[in-house]
Symmetry: C2
Subunit: 150 residues, 2 copies
């Protein structure tokens, strides 16, 4: 199977397949004489797994952990479950953050008369809301909540 067919079959783009290989998430693909990468059913299955995990908001790093558990037959499924539930916690926290943003914004919007007068509580409210000292070093561990594929 060519990389293009593998992409089609797994839902992971060729670009990303090469990237995952390059970064070590997946092992180096077999090569044909021509230099073309060659994929078999097991490879496709792994790629589909990655795709599914990505869609559920797992980081590539976390997927690495999951793959390790996957290939390690001795490993307890409890480990996988723990990882999954940890991720659920992270998702729930993000959910709460978004809910807070929505509440704030709707609150401001409700107080905004929304006509042609130029003074707007949304504008004013935004400048007051933050203001505190700098919050530093909030880790960027989450990215990628978008892209539930269309």
């Amino acid at each position: 199977m060519n990389i293009g067919e593998a992409a089609q079959a797994s839902g992971v783009s060729s670009k990303m397949i090469r990237y995952y290989e390059q970064t070590g998430l997946i092992p180096k693909a077999a090569r044909r004489d021509s230099g073309y990468r060659d994929y078999d059913d097991a490879d496709i299955h792994r790629l589909r797994f990655i795709r599914g995990a990505r869609d559920l908001g797992f980081t590539v790093e976390q997927i690495g952990d999951l793959l390790a558990l996957w290939s390690d037959r001795e490993r307890a499924s409890a480990d996988v479950k723990a990882l999954a539930l940890l991720h659920v916690d992270a998702l729930k926290q993000k959910q709460a953050e978004i809910a807070a943003m929505i509440a704030t914004l709707e609150n401001l919007a409700r107080r905004c008369h929304g006509d042609s007068r130029p003074d707007c509580p949304i504008i004013e409210g935004l400048a007051e809301s933050g203001g505190g000292p700098i919050a530093k070093a909030r880790p960027r561990r989450f990215g990628k909540v978008d892209e539930l594929r269309s």
Copy 2:
């Protein structure tokens, strides 16, 4: 006011202040003879505004639009409200996506016995879930839902 003091007062790091200036989000700061940037209260207010909008999940690009409305006294507050509500819609959609992820994951986790047996429905379920053809070109317009400052 030095950039450091401005950062302290606004909650935007010096690094980001320079970045915002460089990318044109804010006008070029006044300079002292020494070359140091100099900020006044209006600058701080604008920075606080940016900080607040960022915390509410607005993109820098969207903030640019908001700033334009802000500085344009002729502009109707209806425009601001529309922008804000559009953003609320985006936030709600993201919320729905996360809710779906949580539901899927909790579903899988519930079916996972969670003991030391190696077969795990989470692992299996992930490989089946995705699988469809490649979803392409989903716009990356959202970043930054993390980082509600600690």
